[in-house]
């Protein structure tokens, strides 16, 4: 029997991006404590880059991205 036990981390949070409302300020990407987000190379209809979710499983639902977002375009919550 193996002496090693391994648990898959439970997914704790969910982050939701409304890319058309985003103005590409970067705040959410910079201040997410667990680096869930990265700026997309793509543009939204207004011509701004928007955040992409690159590691959904790392989201803790802390809500910081939403607290920073000046455009109410992103938020995270616990699940």
């Amino acid at each position: 029997m193996s002496q090693v036990e391994k648990a898959k981390p439970k997914i704790r949070g969910e982050v939701i991006v409304d890319r058309e409302r985003c103005k590409g300020c970067y705040f959410c990407v910079e201040f997410c404590p667990t680096d869930v987000l990265a700026m997309s190379e793509d543009f939204n209809l207004k011509g701004y880059h928007f955040p992409e979710i690159i590691a959904a499983d790392r989201c803790t639902g802390c809500g910081l991205c939403g607290a920073y977002c000046p455009d109410f375009a992103i938020f995270g919550h616990r699940i």
Binding site: K23, E30, G66, A67, C69, P70, F75, H77
Partner: protein, 301 residues
Amino acid sequence: MSTQAPPAPTCEVHNPTEQWLRMDRIPHIWCPGCGIGSSVNCFTDALEKSKIPRDNVSIVSGIGCTGRTAGYLKLDSFHTTHGRPIAFATGLKLANPKLKVVVYSGDGDLFAIGGNHFIHAARRNMDMTVICVNNMTYGMTGGQVTPTTPLTAKATTSPYGNFEEPFNLPYLAESCGAVYVARWTSFHVRQLSKSIREALLKPGFTFIEVVAPCPTLYARRNRLGAGIDAMKYYREQSEIKNGAPTRDVALGFQSKIICGKFVDTSRPTWLEAQVQQHRAVLGDKFTLAENWEGVGEPRED
């Protein structure tokens, strides 16, 4: 220009700020990376946590980019004339002392044209919470010098650098008699929200300064980069010193930013003082105005 309508939201959970906004007015006019929106998130979070019933809250703004806030919030909102939100707020409070009255406005509005209202409302301990988004410039009109523009900073009206000594807002507020004084930057979202909640729940004149970026005018003219660069500067150059003497917290150009709760004290509000004085002098002849019940009763804080 032809643009498709943005896709309708398909998600059943909503941004927690949305329930406090007039969504028919969103997207707002604020520039990319402007700090006003972040402060609004903190305000609505604080309001929710304060448990003050929504119908009892009234929000008053003057004119400016920050002054748009009242119009975006789904509360009893007053978008007043430039410099006068504190005067309007005073009237609201006296006409209906049960209201929680909040003034949300810019540094130019509150401390240049509106400076006289600020000092007297603080002196009288008029029961209201004043939130000032200090971007150190007149944002809406193109980036002129305000009473908080730091020395040497460039502005439309100071192309060779500002030479006027700015106000140190927490010091000003405390000297005039505010019972609660705090300063945060728009980077300090959790602390800011907590301070706003404390201020909302405290009787008397409570004041919070929010240092926030204006990337379009202040930062561009001073070659300070985008909103995110200001936010990184706040993260790196802020020092939290709760209880610091306010005379020591003046801001310089790209200086250290002392943040924290500086003042938290108590004295009778203007309404309480008036009732107490008149009751003492007039005795039985004194009658309370119709909707002033409870004013002047002892309180716990």
